[in-house]
Chain length 308, copies 2
């Protein structure tokens, strides 16, 4: 039977990695497809912590897909965030908690399950329930890790009641104390000391395209903004290189303090869009955005509304 | 509580009407929203037959929605097929069995359930199962009618194993003999004698837009192609008027014989697209397409692939 490849977005975060592995497990149990989970980039420190904790190996790297390859997408649907060759792949399923992007297109009707919740893993939890499949401790642990990561331990405005309810249920199944495990995992992800500026802007970076404006929003989580911000000049130089190489019109780099829940942005390119979007005046290409932590809910919609 | 409007596509077919009524019932039982089913156009004779059979009133007509109106879409997602004002509505849910259209767009993530099956009602049947809600005889009858209609009693290439399985289950719940009821319902829909040419081309007519080409595909079902085709000149004149009024580049009118499963098309406008799409030569603007019955599977993809 032909292999069906499952993967999340480029620059994978914990939800993208875990949801690929979880859907792989679910589909294997259902038995209709010969599935395998992949990753589209390096696994970050937070995800590594969670994988180690539950004793799970990271998926293999996937660099591109040939025409006609059968795939399932989790945690994204925008083609710019997907694998090289996605335009000519055979998309069988999408499970996602983002907007359906303009770029998303299939030749025929497919299984598409989108839900307005904080994390793809929360939707997968529903799919387990619907399928009547028992969940094991490890799967529960991977799901829980994804929810903690995407909702910043329920502090992100993207977090819903459903995410909290599911996470509490999963913590019990995974046999962990939710807050203790969650803080340890998030903290493992904030150690940015051995990243070069080029790596920093690629840890969790997404490309968007709206009305002809191609823009990039990258985000790093930290317990101390200054630790990252002190390397502003080198970061800006990496951002400039990235913009030139990828024809990006606007680059927003978010340094997010996950303890205090604020973000310092560095903005290059069409700065006027960002200034209008956030109603701010940049100083030396930067501004402090109080209470902003979510790219999806507090950054991308503002930029999109400004471009329109 | 604000009213949430549920509706299918313009020129509603049986699936669009029944799925609106079925989702209304489901959401009322779930109780999270104050929902009401609507229709975006006249109810056709086939649908009327089914509604009468099960003693259900047709939904009210909806002509447009104000900015910010909360809505749920069934059986469509293409904005051109939806209600006037849909661009600025607040879309809460979509349940559909079509491709996700380029035009489909929401401000944030929503509940979107798409499945590659022959009928929206088949997906709604799954939603009933998932919710653990008991199905009554009348709801089963409406669902069954939608499946019979969309799959032409399982003869359409869009029909899947799932549709047949669900329909058989529903026939039992609805207490009808599937074939007898199905043929009677389909036959009720083929009585086109009192339709004017303008009405004929609007019974089940959809607008598509691909790479800047705006085209219309209308379909009527009949037990005898000649009964409709004899009024070709008047139909062409109605098609021409429609194209001018709505800036349509290409109009394909399908006269489908649901007994023999063939279609006679009348094509106006950019005829070269249709000739290439179906590998035919039109004679007097018309051609016979053997074995073609499905707009979604055998007509629209061919045209789209030719335009690209």
């Amino acid at each position: 039977m032909e292999e069906v490849k499952i993967f999340g977005h480029k620059n994978p975060d914990t939800d993208s990695i875990m949801s690929s592995l979880i859907l792989e497990g679910l589909e294997k149990t259902l038995g209709a497809y010969n599935v395998k989970a992949y990753r589209l980039g390096n696994v970050n420190k937070e995800t590594k912590y969670a994988l180690n904790y539950f004793g799970v190996k990271e998926p293999e790297l996937l660099e591109k897909v040939e025409e006609g390859t059968s795939v399932m997408l989790v945690d994204h649907n925008e083609f710019a965030q997907s694998v090289e060759g996605i335009e000519n792949a055979n998309i069988l399923r999408v499970v996602d908690h983002h907007n359906i992007a303009e770029s998303f297109k299939t030749a025929g009707p497919i299984f598409y399950l989108g839900m307005p919740v904080g994390c793809t893993a929360t939707i997968l939890r529903e799919m387990f329930k619907v399928s009547g499949i028992q969940m094991d401790k490890i799967t529960a642990g991977l799901m829980l890790s994804a929810i903690i990561s995407d909702t910043l331990l329920f502090k992100s405005p993207t977090c819903t009641k459903k995410d909290i309810e599911v996470a509490n249920e999963l913590a019990e199944l995974a046999e962990v104390e939710l807050n203790t495990y969650g803080l340890a995992m998030l903290k493992a992800g904030t150690d940015l000391s051995d990243f070069s500026p080029e790596e920093l802007i690629n840890i969790d970076s997404k490309t968007y395209s709206t009305n002809g404006v191609k823009y990039q929003v990258a985000q790093v989580n930290t317990a101390c903004i200054e630790d990252v911000f002190k390397n502003k000049e080198q970061i800006e130089s990496a951002m400039n290189n990235f913009m030139q190489q990828n024809s990006i019109d606007l680059f927003v780099f978010m340094i997010t303090d996950i303890i205090e829940n604020n973000t310092q942005v560095i903005v290059l390119g069409k700065q006027e869009i960002a200034e209008k979007a956030f109603n701010i005046k940049l100083e030396n290409n930067s501004a402090f955005l109080k209470g902003v932590v979510s790219r999806k809910k507090q950054v991308v919609p503002n930029i999109d509304n400004t471009i329109v």
